[in-house]
Symmetry: C3
Subunit: 359 residues, 3 copies
């Protein structure tokens, strides 16, 4: 997580950056930039970026020496004043390449801190890192380049794949498995018991949860999120899925590849998400349903029934997104509709009376 | 949390399992099963379970040697092929008994790890367990068979009852009391300050929170849930209540017995839940209200007023559940209603004009 | 967090308490009170408080020796029986002064526990406290009177201001800065990576998050809340803002002074809150919007567009609060409206037919 400014050139020529990201320079490619900053914070020797028309004024008044823009913003970016532009198809993608140039990541930590407590029969690669006060249970396997930062706790029989990083205070209960290049942020709890009880004579009896939680390669899990173990088999997070902070994933849930769960979203037990499903912030999915490939659920919505591939839904309960938006626009007109209804009734009654038809 | 397969027979006769759960075998009771698995994962020598008609196809194609079913599923379960059935009134209840047969729980840990830091004047039973890096404040009492796993922190004057289990990284602030057989999952925070301020001249002044959090016997608290201490007295969770992950319980709240709070539910300050109240996932209850015995709040709903005993409510703000469902079905028809209203107005105006009545 | 009853007088004269809070006694100021309790729990020698008419019955039957009341409650408080009253403009404000009299806070802890692990080049004031198993990275500065309780983890280059308190198990990622008199509750995670990816050929590529999280003076952050670091600059929480439990603040968000975020509220990335904005419990704010000074968002609502200064909004998506309340009252009438619409259509058709006008 630390970033160091050491070991990088003091400045970069814009043309050099363009080459790094496969972009094109409009204007002077020899301009030197010192840092990458937001429009608001950029100084006269900084590069900034501008990709949404909504930030047009900020772009115009920004002191930045040059701007990273998509083709669609070239015109707007050039309006106020002449400034070299670095044009790329996808500025976000360019940032993935540019940020490490300006902020080289620190070398990965190595070694086992003297205070780490490691159980029996563990296989820990020599290039792995165990920070202060890490506790690892029996029978765990920790692969090359993996880093368990301070206070991480692993139960028994956990596996951590190559290059995976677990930030301070995350917990993996017994049997949890992480693939390669997984990132688990602080306070995330993987593999806690699913929420299952059998109610008998007024008592909620705990149904033992003896499955596990499995996280595939390249998954990232946000701070304080929770992914429960399955009742018997696996709660499964598919490759490359990204989970934000404070997200709850219930027992037996499966996520396909490339799913995105935004902050505070929640998924009830035994629900299945196919590949590339997106849940917006604070959205929820009920239990025992299926969301097809590419389904998108609007923020704050609640999906209570299965949704077919490719659909976008919103609302509580969630319906087709366009219908929901239309509905939301109708809502404020309800009072007016009620008044018009009343007025119609009065008029019709009067008309009927005049017509001698008092039915 | 660990489960071991050692020390159990390699297989169980179905009749032996039926005896264990008070069920009845339809078909060959001598069939031997090796494990208990889901319909999808069961191999040819496994027992599985089938209790919802929605999983009918999965049941039909499952390789399972036998199925645990409720009486209502006997017919469906027998359809595809002949297979012995273990029939019980409540399959969930049977799982409570069966799972430990297949996955015997490990013996409870004992002893105080050398790295545990214990304060003054504590009374810790000889059969209790304090894991690595546990920190216990002054004047705490920890009863027989209680287990504080790695990195658990107790403030001063806490009490942990007989056989209670606190998973890694949970925190009990000063004065928190747990009854017997309580389970607290990782990252749960009990007894943090309630959210109370007096705003004076533009400053939010902290109202000191000097009460505590009290958890009765047999309560389970999910990962990363938070239960604040009271202002002066007690935030109180009644016996046998079950709280899922990421749930927020505000200061001065009281829960009766057997309440169920699903994932990401929240309760604002000073609200009282009588016995057996259920909050669905992501549901919320406002402050200073009372939910009567057995009230059920639908997922994603917000109760803002007190609700009488036995009612089921839903919506934001929550109303009678049936009314809310009806309402939700009406919503998509709003656009059509508006069009019909406009059409009526036009027709009525035309009719009135023709009738020589231009009022 | 601990409170001690030692070192305070056994009882206080009501007149002495009135002097402490600038209030007025109605009745016998010489009455001695032993403790401050709620109406329900107060014994015959306790002071209690009564400030909402809804608690009138509880006030009447309370055994309390005296009541703290605002002017508006004097009449109600006097109804049932004669009891000395301590009248103050703002009882909550009086509690800020009174509670420490009855429950004197313990002296702040000092010193560095032998198990604390401190990195290179740190500056830790002699009057600061580092509890058991605290881990502090390189280059951190911890000011006078600051307290890092058990298991707190600081990354590199963090700063903690004068008198700030960090409760057990909170984590500050690299570069996080806390001002003076900040309180961070257990399990809060400050400075974890913002949620940002560039999707390319079916892969969500991580956009490195190299900014930081900055918390100004007198902020309080609840248990298990998460405040992400910025992409490049700062996620910024303004002076005196108060954040409840399980709140999510996305990257690049800025809060002004004195904002209040209630339990489980969430703010998506790059959104700006001006001073004194209030988000109710479980409310959400979308990304890249601005909420003007004093905006109030009702519990469970979702603001998806910028809101001008001083407005109160509610609903999903949020609209003017009064409009939303009106709307919510109309909703249950939808079914009835549909029936009346149908009835009008029938009547009009019949009338038109009778009028010989079958259009």
């Amino acid at each position: 997580m630390a970033r160091s400014d050491q070991g990088r050139p003091a400045t970069f020529a814009l043309s050099r950056l363009a080459a790094a990201v496969g972009g094109e320079v409009l204007g002077d490619g020899k301009v030197q930039v010192r840092n990458l900053r937001t429009l608001e914070h950029a100084a006269e020797d900084d590069l900034s970026f501008f990709s949404q028309a909504a930030y047009r004024v900020q772009a115009e008044v920004s002191a930045a020496a040059a701007l990273l823009v998509p083709p669609s913003m070239v015109e707007l970016a050039g309006e106020g004043r002449q400034r070299p532009l670095l044009v790329v198809e996808d500025p976000s993608l360019a940032l993935v390449e540019l940020i490490p140039l300006f902020h080289p990541p620190p070398p990965p930590p190595r070694g086992i801190h003297g205070t780490a407590v490691v159980g029996k029969d563990c296989a820990i690669d020599d290039s792995a890192y165990l920070g202060p006060y890490v506790v690892v249970g029996d029978g765990c396997r920790i692969a090359a380049g993996a880093a368990l930062h301070a206070h991480v706790v692993l139960g028994n029989a956990c596996r951590v794949g190559v290059g995976s990083v677990i930030h301070p205070h995350a917990v993996l209960y017994d049997g949890t498995r992480l693939g390669d290049a997984v990132i688990v942020h602080s306070g995330a709890i993987l593999g806690a018991d699913g929420f299952g009880y059998a109610t008998h004579q007024g008592k909620h009896l705990k149904v033992p949860q003896v499955g596990r939680t499995v996280i595939e390669d390249e998954v990232e899990i946000g701070a304080n999120s929770t992914i429960d173990r399955a009742l018997l088999e696996e709660t499964h997070i598919g490759q490359g899925s990204k989970i934000d902070n404070l997200v709850q994933v219930g027992h037996n849930v499966t996520l396909g590849r490339g799913c995105i769960l935004c902050g505070q979203a929640g998924i009830a037990g035994s629900t299945q998400l196919d590949d590339y499903v997106v849940l917006g912030g604070q959205a929820g999915a009920g239990g025992h349903i299926t969301l097809g490939r590419g389904v998108q659920v609007a923020a704050k919505s609640a999906v209570l029934q299965s949704v077919a591939e490719g659909l976008r839904v919103g609302g509580i309960p969630a319906i087709d997104l366009k219908d929901w938006r239309r509905q939301a626009m109708m809502m404020p007109r309800l009072g007016e509709m009620a008044r018009r209804l009343r007025s119609l009734e009065t008029k019709l009654a009067s008309l009927a009376k005049n017509a001698g038809d008092d039915d």
